[in-house]
């Protein structure tokens, strides 16, 4: 299949359509506006339904309803919008309803700014919802990877009966790269939903008794048993969904840990450091939860320093420290607020940190 040059946000929408999405709900927010815009004219053509809600709160709850009745549902937003959706996501986890959410993140906190940020790391990996729940999160580094992940994540969401999150950022949403689009999957016909999703609220026509989707469990023992059942699948997710890439760990003196846009900057930083005589390696978490701790076991004997490299004040740092298990000193290189550092700046700061560690 031939490649086409597509803007990230439009490619993300097309990936969802090709995954057989039936419904999209959203509310405009920069820098992901091209997602709802694209869905508004392309999803109806593909046989699906687009609806612009009156707020992110409404969008996530409409998505909840449509997904509970068995439709493939996609939602997208950007950082402050995701904060508004958190309550709904907690309910969706609690009721074990699958859907895919895309966060094209920007600077924060609050309304923040519209330039790229990664300060949603804690929001997406820990959640802003109450209670014991987890949402698998995947962080692509480019448009093709994001397209492939969105396409696949609907199957993951349905397998685990849980929301799945994709964390992209403003740069990925706005830029263009060549993409190879996956084949179009058919939207599951309504008549087939009771067979494909026997738990879905489809009425009593095709099965005995009612399906009920509910979050309220007043009996503590009933609630505890339900949460423990959810955590059995989260334990499976921790085994099955770990994904990462590594570059040059075996003989690296410095190892960067970076995801998304920051990992691409690190790739160039590594070349700059090689010119200065320092071999650097990279761990790129693709799954942020479950965090790829085992990637750190691939680090070779020459490593003197691990650097969490982030577009936030260091939200991933604690996960990196846990994974490092005191085997190496762990430092942080970061910018925030929508500023993306140059590879030269990262290289300069990494060289300085390395000197400090050696001293």
């Amino acid at each position: 299949m031939s490649k086409i040059l597509m803007k990230g946000n439009e490619a993300f929408g097309e990936a969802a359509i090709r995954a057989g999405v039936k419904c999209y709900f959203g509310y405009p927010i920069t820098p992901q506006n091209e997602v709802p815009e694209y869905m508004s004219h392309e999803l109806p053509k593909a046989g699906g339904a687009f609806l612009q809600a009156e707020s992110e709160l409404a969008a996530v709850n409409m998505a909840f309803g449509a997904a509970a009745s068995g439709g493939r549902v996609f939602i997208s937003t950007s950082s402050p919008g995701l904060a508004l959706m958190q309550e709904g996501l907690g309910f969706i986890c609690s009721t074990e309803v699958p859907l895919v959410a895309l966060n094209v993140s920007r600077g924060g906190p609050g309304v923040g700014g519209i330039q790229p940020g990664q300060a949603d790391y804690l929001q997406v990996t820990r959640g802003g919802y109450n209670g014991d729940a987890k949402i698998p999160v995947f962080a692509p580094a480019g448009i093709q990877e994001c397209v492939d992940l969105i396409y696949e994540c609907f199957d993951i969401a349905e397998k685990y009966r849980n929301p799945v999150m994709i964390l992209a950022d403003a740069m990925m949403g706005q830029m263009m790269e060549p993409v190879e689009l996956p084949p179009k999957k058919e939207i599951t016909p309504v008549a087939d939903i009771p067979r494909v999703k026997p738990w879905a609220i489809t009425g009593t026509g095709q099965h005995e008794g009612r399906n009920v989707i509910y979050s309220l469990r007043m009996q503590p023992d009933v609630l505890e048993a339900h949460v423990e059942k959810m955590f059995e699948k989260y334990a499976r997710a921790e085994k099955e969904l770990v994904r990462y890439n590594t570059v040059g760990l075996e003989d690296a003196e410095v190892v960067f840990v970076a995801f998304g846009t920051m990992s691409r900057l690190c790739a160039e930083t590594m070349e700059l450091m090689a010119e200065r005589g320092v071999k650097a390696g990279l761990i790129r978490p693709i799954s942020l939860w479950p965090f790829p701790e085992k990637a750190f076991d691939e680090i070779g004997p020459k490593t003197k320093l691990v650097i969490s490299t982030e577009l936030s004040m260091g939200q991933m740092l604690s996960d990196v420290k846990v994974a490092a298990r005191n085997r190496w000193p762990v430092k942080l290189i970061h910018r925030t607020g929508g500023i993306v550092p140059s590879s030269i700046e990262i290289a300069d700061r990494a060289m300085k940190l390395l000197e400090e560690v050696k001293a």
Binding site: K3, L5, P31, I114, A170, M171, Q174, M175, M176, E177, P178, R264, L265, A267, E268, E271, V340, S342, S343, I344
Partner: protein, 174 residues
């Protein structure tokens, strides 16, 4: 092969469109490309720029520290971005709107009176296409035929009447 290009102008001048056309054409010729536009609340009249990276290998980073080719459509863009050009690199400047000379002595400067040439052709808005023609001629970064195919896609249907004038504008420097 790794080429880094940077396009800048005021919103509406079509600097981004030049970058996008080159990126698309280069992809059609089998290269890896990235196209990264600046974005913000500004629209027409605000500042606009785009970074294009072209390579025969996968591109690690779409952001650049310096460029091989800089294209500036107005004076503020020249002032701001001239230092980005690598020594020995190329600077294309729209001399219709930039009365000043470039300050660097270690780069090759190509002055293109893009607006005047477009006006002479009777299509004021195609100044960016005149500039594109000059870039194609000087750099050979993509073939004219590939760009022309892209123009055909761009100017189809109701916009088909603009194809020929734009082709003429691109053709001017070739």
């Amino acid at each position: 092969m790794l080429k880094k290009l940077f396009f800048a102008g005021s919103g509406g001048q079509g600097a981004l469109a030049i970058g996008q056309l080159i990126a698309k054409a280069s992809m059609e010729e089998g290269n890896e490309v990235t196209y990264l536009p600046s974005y913000g609340p500004e629209m027409r009249g605000g500042t606009a720029n785009a970074t294009v990276v072209i390579s025969d290998r996968p591109i690690s980073c779409p952001l650049i520290n310096e460029c091989d080719v800089l294209v500036v459509m107005n004076l503020p863009s020249l002032t701001r971005f001239e230092p980005m050009v690598k020594p020995g690199g190329l600077l294309f400047m729209n001399s219709s709107l930039i009365p000043e000379k470039a300050s660097r002595g270690d780069i090759r400067v190509i002055e293109v009176p893009a607006n005047e040439e477009a006006q002479k052709l009777g299509i004021d808005r195609a100044a960016n296409m005149v500039m594109l023609g000059a870039i194609l001629k000087e750099t050979g970064i993509v073939r004219f035929e590939t760009v022309y195919n892209e123009l055909e896609h761009m100017f189809s249907g109701r916009k088909a009447k603009f194809l020929e004038p734009n082709r003429k504008a691109v053709d001017l420097y070739l």
